[in-house]
């Protein structure tokens, strides 16, 4: 718990623990919390962790992440623990599950994929081929996606 005390407890909101070390900024981007007006966010990076060696932690005030946001999180931090905080207490623990398909979360990065035409109305769909190691493929064109760059293609 000592590393959790590097930031103060939040009254209401979401705490995301066990983010792979150095990935907290990507998580913010994935959750679209990095732009525009947003809630107060506390972040610690590269703190010691019994489970992971080093980890990142995020605390987002006055915002409870919904299932769609948790699905996004699963792409970068599938082993993160998510706690919904209400009145300084953990009200709920949410598990992150990588489903079998990501619908309208990330678009295919392949330049010749039919989904590159932004006027085409059907949803962007990516299939999860394997969780470990993470392998994701466009459901239309079948191209594998580069996991390290996937954050650049969030919708």
């Amino acid at each position: 718990m000592s590393e959790m005390r590097r930031v103060t407890a939040i009254c209401n909101g979401t705490a995301i623990d066990h983010i792979p070390s150095g990935h907290a900024l990507q998580v913010l981007k994935m959750l679209r919390l990095d732009v525009g007006r947003s809630n107060p966010i506390s972040m610690v990076m590269n703190v010691p962790s019994g489970k992971m060696g080093r980890k990142d932690v995020l605390k987002i005030e006055d915002r409870e992440l919904n299932q769609e946001e948790l699905d996004r999180l699963a792409l970068i931090a599938p082993k993160a623990s998510v706690a919904i905080i209400r009145n300084y207490h953990v009200a709920e623990k949410r598990t992150i599950e990588l489903g079998s398909e990501l619908i309208n979360i990330v678009r295919c990065s392949f330049s010749n994929c039919i989904t590159q035409n932004s006027r085409e109305p059907l949803p962007h769909k990516l299939k999860i081929i394997s969780a470990e190691p993470m392998e994701i493929r466009c459901s239309y064109c079948g191209k594998n996606q580069d996991i390290n760059e996937i954050v650049e293609f969030i919708i």
Binding site: C108, N112, T115, R119, P121, R137, C141, G142
Partner: protein, 310 residues
């Protein structure tokens, strides 16, 4: 369920059933018998990219079975006015009972299938898949060797952009083929496909050298280096003409080995091969007719009689 977008849409049993039906339909494909199994049905032939064999053989297949064909090409239609594929497909859904689509963008066939109710057959999507070509390739191989099991198959040329080899290799590993992939480094089979083939238990060997494997091959599948898929001409010129198969190269080949090519050929397959017992590419192109007949019947839920009487 009638869609055929990749070879994953057909089980091995279904593949063999379609090939059996294609064989039954040979007299119809040759025009010796008129069998109007698809009378009253309309095929939408949607070609957003050039085609000779696929388009013509689908049209012949439909007509010889008594069906009608609507042809659409991107030139002279609303596509050239910027219509989305989704909108075009909504029209086709209303006008036709089944559609074949060829499109320069990868994934266009699956996208079309998701957009409409009628069955969609993939006639080639960018550098993606070309499963109806694979079915006629399998038909050709099975007719020559009597079986699809455990063959030694060599694929040569543009394996990166060559969609026919992508679909064919997927199908062949399911029948226990040993596949030798021959290409220059820049035109290697995409990693995700090689990894899929290996995950299916495929015995895959990648090399840049063509001559070493000719003697042990049961099938040599030549492909054209496709100029139109290269981002720039310099890259094309580096590899154009790298493989040339001639009659002399086949002197020690197995007697029953067959040479195939999805055509058109440029200079990778010399005309001297045409007169050898190995040449099978023109037969292969004809085989598109009975195979596509069988596929049209399958997708439209029409039963093919086991014996077609002359």
């Amino acid at each position: 369920m009638g869609d055929v977008i990749t070879m994953d849409d057909l089980t091995n049993e279904e593949i063999l059933q379609v090939l059996d039906n294609a064989r039954s339909l040979l007299p119809v494909a040759k025009g010796e018998v008129y069998l109007p199994l698809l009378q009253g049905k309309v095929l939408g032939n949607l070609f957003f990219e050039n085609s000779t064999r696929t388009r013509m053989s689908f049209e012949t297949a439909m007509k010889r079975l008594g069906g009608e064909v609507l042809n659409l090409s991107s030139v002279g239609s609303s596509v050239s006015k910027g219509e989305t594929l989704y909108d075009t497909m909504q029209m086709v859904d209303g006008y036709a009972d089944i559609a074949v689509i060829r499109h320069p963008n990868q994934g266009a066939a699956q996208y079309s299938a998701d957009a409409v109710e009628i069955p969609v057959l993939n006639g080639g999507d960018g550098a993606g898949n070309h499963p109806t070509q694979t079915m006629l390739d399998l038909f050709t191989i099975r007719e020559a060797h009597g079986s699809l099991e455990g063959l030694n198959v060599m694929m040569v040329g543009d394996l990166r952009y060559g969609r026919t080899t992508h679909s064919l290799s997927h199908a062949l590993v399911r029948f226990g083929a040993k596949i030798t992939l021959v290409s220059p480094e820049s035109l290697k089979m995409p990693d995700e496909i090689v990894s899929d083939l290996k995950n299916h238990g495929g015995d895959i060997n990648e090399t840049e050298e063509m001559s070493l494997s000719i003697d042990s091959a049961d099938v040599i599948y030549m492909t054209r280096i496709q100029k139109e898929r290269f981002p720039d001409e310099d890259e094309y010129n580096k590899v154009a003409g790298i493989y040339k198969l001639t009659k002399d190269d086949l002197s020690d080949a197995k007697a029953e080995m067959i040479v195939m090519h999805p055509l058109p050929r440029v200079n990778e397959l010399h005309a001297s091969v045409d007169s050898t017992r190995h040449a099978r590419y023109f037969q292969q192109a004809f085989n598109g007719v009975p195979t596509r007949m069988a596929l049209l019947c399958r997708s439209l839920g029409v039963k093919v009689p086991k014996k077609v009487k002359k």
